[in-house]
């Protein structure tokens, strides 16, 4: 199971990196969100995907899954959510003010 997840994470990273290297700002924002999806899945996978009950104490189960990475992922999700929202608004403002979303035309030295 970990192997399949590793491949899935690898694909997410590949697509994310490909999108980040493209020219349109919108595709770059999408790339960053795919990258963060990949890294959250990676966090879940790396802590082990052993079968066990959900980490809620009422279940009377023999074993539970590791609750720590779930807390880490939850934290990371809200952070990347905030940053992505900011990035989208920034891209929108940049489009309004600069009149383009091509990264190529955001080069140069002029004010």
């Amino acid at each position: 199971m970990e192997l399949i997840m590793a491949v899935a994470v690898g694909i997410l990273f590949t697509v994310g990196v490909y999108l980040i290297l493209s020219k349109s700002l919108l595709r770059i924002v999408l790339g960053t969100s795919l990258l963060t999806h990949g890294v959250h899945l990676l966090l879940l996978t790396m802590a082990g995907l052993k079968t066990g009950a959900a980490p809620v104490l009422g279940g009377q189960a023999e074993a539970y899954v590791d609750p720590l990475p779930q807390a880490l992922i939850l934290t990371s999700i809200v952070i990347s959510f905030g940053v992505t929202a900011f990035f989208f608004v920034l891209a929108y403002r940049a489009y309004q003010t600069l009149g383009t979303d091509e990264m190529d035309s955001l080069k140069g030295e002029e004010q």
Binding site: L25, T32, T36, M46, L68, S80, T97
Partner: protein
């Protein structure tokens, strides 16, 4: 155990929250900001004194014993950095009053300012690797806001690049934490250090160490600095000062922490990476510093050179060079803060940031000119000033560990620093005034402020002996991580 350790984080946090409610009351905002910044300096002094007397302070959040809870650790390095940050922060805050402009002040400038300080203080004091990530994000999100506030074309353009590079590096940070957690199963730094030593830092852990190095190098501008010169040129001078003095130093601190506490068992592999990255950073930064003729870029490349220099101190990892790295880091935060403030004043006085369009400023602003000259000597490391002691220690440590080439590069980079700053001094202050009129501006207040900061830098150089007794205490912990582990895991 005492709650003193959390105060440097709590004070700016509460201030930032209160300031949200005072959007239109600018005077009140300024007053509260200053009171909070002064309080922070006082708390930091008390913290340094207490650690000096009683040794490393730890604070378990919520009373959970390490490694199960989050622990805050105040060793001498962290406390000294907190103190320096609070002093530089206060100076930049005072400079902001004069330079940032009402428009930006109205849009929560001081709130973001204090949130940035929360992130910086938190990064210095935390003892948990994921908590470090969270404080990094607090700092970075505040910096995204500060770099884009005002919304000029240049700022919008550079913010999108700055944002992208930091999202990628944060993603890599989480990936590195995930790998490390899978390899050793803990997040507490002291516990990590034990577990990594037990596991005998083999191939997998070395890969993780290099991944952390890449992440922190991206934040600190160590070799991976391609984003820095452009991004740090975009915001107004006060914000630039804040970034140049504090942000890269947090990345450097993270490198110091990870490679003196956690990944210490295979220095032949990891520290060689740092050494060559440091060498390349000093060379490329030096080339950039002499290549440009506009003030922000010269300054930004100077920031990069000093990052390389501190990393060189970390790489040779002798007691001397680690002491030197700490001393130089403290000096550099103060001096770079002063450099950006003086640069901001010069830009205001000349009405442009292009050196070619300046000249003859020494006749109008003699004090400013000589202060800039003194600063240039400080940054190069001429003996009576504060840059000297750190440089000597780092070079001596480098020679002790047999890194002759890098020591020469380090000394050579000092010449490039000197050349770039003296070129600036010559073009801006000597010569004839240009054809166009200089703007009429009031600079007395900010000049006095800069003079105060310069006096502090000189005191640090003259009183290097006194400062060194604190610095060597910080260096001890870096040389023997057992001290840190004992302090955290004592119960």
């Amino acid at each position: 155990m005492s709650n003193l350790l959390v105060l440097p984080i709590l004070i700016p946090l509460c201030t930032a929250v209160v300031l949200i409610f005072l959007k239109e009351k600018l005077l009140l905002q300024r007053l509260i900001s200053v009171v909070s910044a002064v309080l922070n300096v006082i708390v930091a002094v008390i913290l340094v004194q207490r650690i000096h007397v009683e040794g490393i302070q730890t604070l378990q959040m919520g009373g959970w014993m390490p490694p199960y809870g989050i622990v805050f650790v105040g060793d001498m390095l962290a406390a000294l950095l907190v103190l320096t940050t609070s002093v530089v922060g206060l100076a930049i805050l005072l400079y902001s009053f004069r330079s940032i402009g009402e428009e930006r002040e109205r849009f929560y400038y001081y709130t973001f300012f204090h949130f940035l300080l929360v992130g910086v203080y938190g990064s210095f004091l935390t003892g948990d690797i994921f908590n470090l990530f969270v404080f990094f994000e607090v700092m970075l999100i505040a910096s995204y806001a500060l770099i884009s506030i005002g919304g000029t074309k240049l700022q919008l353009r550079e913010t999108s690049k700055y944002l992208l590079i930091n999202i990628v590096s944060s993603t890599l940070f989480v990936a590195a934490v995930a790998y490390l957690y899978a390899a050793v199963g803990t997040l507490n730094m002291a516990h990590l250090s034990q577990r990594v030593a037990d596991a005998g830092q083999d191939g997998v852990l070395n890969v993780i160490a290099v991944l952390f190095l890449i992440v922190f190098a991206l934040k600190a501008g160590l070799l991976l600095f391609f984003w820095l010169p452009g991004s740090y040129s975009a915001p107004p001078p006060a914000v630039r000062a804040l970034f140049g003095a504090l942000l890269t130093k947090v990345g450097l601190y993270a490198i110091i922490r990870t490679f003196t506490l956690i990944f210490v068992n295979d220095p032949g592999f990891t520290h060689t990476w740092i050494a060559w990255m440091a060498g390349a950073t000093m060379i490329l930064g030096g080339l950039g510093a002499v290549a440009y003729n506009d003030i922000p870029r010269i300054f930004n490349y100077n920031v990069i050179i000093s990052v390389g220099f501190v990393a060189f101190g970390i790489a040779s990892a002798t007691p001397d060079s680690l002491d030197g790295a700490v001393f130089y880091l403290l000096h550099d935060m103060l001096a770079k803060g002063l450099m950006f403030i003086l640069g901001g004043i010069i830009i205001t006085a000349a009405g442009t940031d292009q050196l070619k369009a300046m000249g003859g400023l020494i006749k109008r602003y003699p004090l400013l000119g000589w202060m800039f000259f003194a600063l240039a000597l400080t940054l190069v490391g001429i003996p009576p000033f504060s840059g000297f002691a750190g440089k000597v220690l780092i070079i001596r440590g480098g020679l002790e560990s047999g890194m002759l080439t890098l020591s020469l590069i380090g000394l050579g980079s000092s010449f490039l620093v000197l050349y770039s700053l003296i070129k600036m001094f010559r073009l801006a202050f000597w010569g004839n005034e240009p054809e166009r009129e200089y703007p009429k501006v009031h600079l007395r207040g900010v000049t006095v402020l800069a003079a105060g900061l310069l006096a502090l830098v000189i005191c640090m150089g003259v009183g290097a002996e006194q400062v060194y007794s604190y610095v060597s205490q910080a260096g001890e912990v870096l040389v023997s991580p057992a001290l840190y582990i004992e302090a955290v895991m004592k119960e």
